[in-house]
Amino acid sequence: MSQSVSSELISAVPRPHGTDAVLAAFTQVGAVVGLEARKLAHDPSELLLRAVQPALWLVIFGGVFSTIHVIPTGSYTYLQFLTPGILAQSVLFIAIFYGIASIRERELGIITKFLVSPTPRAILVGARGLSASIRGLSQALIVMLLATGLGVALNLSPASLAGLVVTIVLGSALFSTLSMIIASLVKTQERFLGIGQLLTMPLFFASNAIYPISIMPVWLRPFALANPLTYLVDALRNLMLPTPGGLFPLWEDLGVLFAVTMGLILLEARLYPRMAQ
């Protein structure tokens, strides 16, 4: 290492090792998540506007399909089946447009400022993913309140709620990182919005959010099983319904979400620096 004595003396930023490195990572993640929290605290109107869409789905769509009994949902009412699906959908719809923030920050000079800081790229990207979960968690609160208001029986035990938080954080991180990858590739708002629109509906309909995989046409099933949204919905059904209502065990759902999220973060950590070139 070609470090001169003078730079050793003057260098103001400590260089973390071992447990310090872990602490450093937490500090840096805290900076990015704190930034997002402060932005939302200054202007929370967005969070309230986001409540409209899940309300429409639960009240209108859920109301209609509850009365006609066409979708087989086992021992649950259709609204019970639908509630985790709509929560997952809200998480997806918010997270999938998260990358627009990267594009805006690229058009200004904000991204370069982050990238010249000594923060490891994977930490910057992972922390952005975690920031997105603030919105996801506020959606969870809204959907739970709506569903309770509609008389849907949900599992509100502390263990279930803790699991819900973990699941929402993973789901938000997954789709917001995917969104940032798209942003890093297309770089302009117009193209980004186009691709975002293009992606949301197939992800939504080729999932088990509003109907079970068992009633899908055979050709669609592999897509549903390869769709991360399916595992988010499934985890939520395991956690939110009075008895675990998922197709797969919870650990399997969370394992898939975790693995996909990590893969996406590592990919975006490589792509993100391009945003400053």
Partner: protein, 271 residues
């Protein structure tokens, strides 16, 4: 210029960048002494920003390398990042949060020890004359205040070298002079070396001890503004004259649609 026995804070070794067929920066050799304010001057498109992006580790060089604050930009980018500050040409402060919060985020990203964070933030605000507006949203700041906040952001971790890309573009003359004054004070009080780019010759003349003249990605001259002007056989030569002499053509500003759009966006946002 000060005589220095200490090693230069920036040394480029045939630093080169190509974008496809276009060579944005031809093999570049410059060095910057500790405590020096060094200016890269030239019109838009001369390769100034590309050079700064390579030196700040944002853009990998196609060939060659550079040492910044004693570290190699290609092999030790993280060490370089720890030791530099950067004020990009475009707006880099977040408008949706307060000035204090902007500094809070970077104090943590730069791992300033928790016990010192608050003090560093307060002193950076004070140094830049922003203490009174620390808790206001940045979207209500004037252009000059935003620039000073961005400099404060880049300074909290006491960088050895501060890179500034067109630090006063879009500012009115009063705000411009205020920024100049801060840069000079910064060097005086902390001994920070400054590398800045500018296409305002007046700025380079006023602020820089040495300048490098870039033209189409090549360094065509370097030296103190006085030396460069004296080198011309022309009474009362200006730095514009120096540029015309070495480039063999008028300094044409503009840089095309994209560049014009960027500059105007900065100017509008800074109003």
């Amino acid at each position: 210029m000060q005589p220095s026995s200490a090693p230069p804070v920036v040394v480029t070794q045939d630093l080169t960048r190509r974008f496809g067929q276009l060579t944005a920066v031809h093999p570049l050799r410059v060095s910057v002494q500790p405590g020096e304010i060094f200016g890269l001057i030239g019109p838009n498109g001369a390769g100034k920003t590309t050079t700064i992006k390579m030196l700040t580790t944002l853009l990998p060089p196609t060939a060659g390398t550079a040492s910044v604050a004693g570290f190699d930009i290609v092999r030790e980018p993280t060490e370089v990042r720890r030791n530099i500050g950067y004020v990009p040409q475009l707006i880099s402060a977040d408008a949706q949060i307060t000035g204090y919060e902007n500094l809070w985020v970077f104090a943590r990203l730069y791992l300033i020890p928790p016990a010192e964070r608050e003090r560093r933030i307060r002193s950076a605000l004070e140094f830049m004359g922003l203490s009174g507006v620390a808790d206001e949203l940045v979207k209500n700041y004037s252009g000059g205040m935003i620039r000073r906040l961005e400099i404060a952001q880049a300074l909290m971790h006491r960088p050895r070298v501060l890179f500034m890309d067109e630090p006063t573009v879009g500012l009115d003359p009063i705000a411009r002079e205020a920024v100049w004054e801060q840069i000079v004070r910064l060097r005086r009080e902390y001994g920070t070396s400054v590398v800045l780019t500018t296409h305002y010759m007046e700025e380079a003349d006023h602020l820089c001890e040495r300048v490098g003249v870039l033209h189409r990605g090549r360094l065509v001259a370097s030296g103190s503004p006085a030396e460069l002007k004296a080198g011309l056989e022309q009474a009362d030569a200006s730095l514009e004259d120096v540029f015309v002499h070495y480039a063999g053509e008028e300094m044409e500003l503009g840089g095309g649609y994209r560049e014009a759009g960027r500059l105007r966006r900065v100017a509008v946002r800074l109003e």
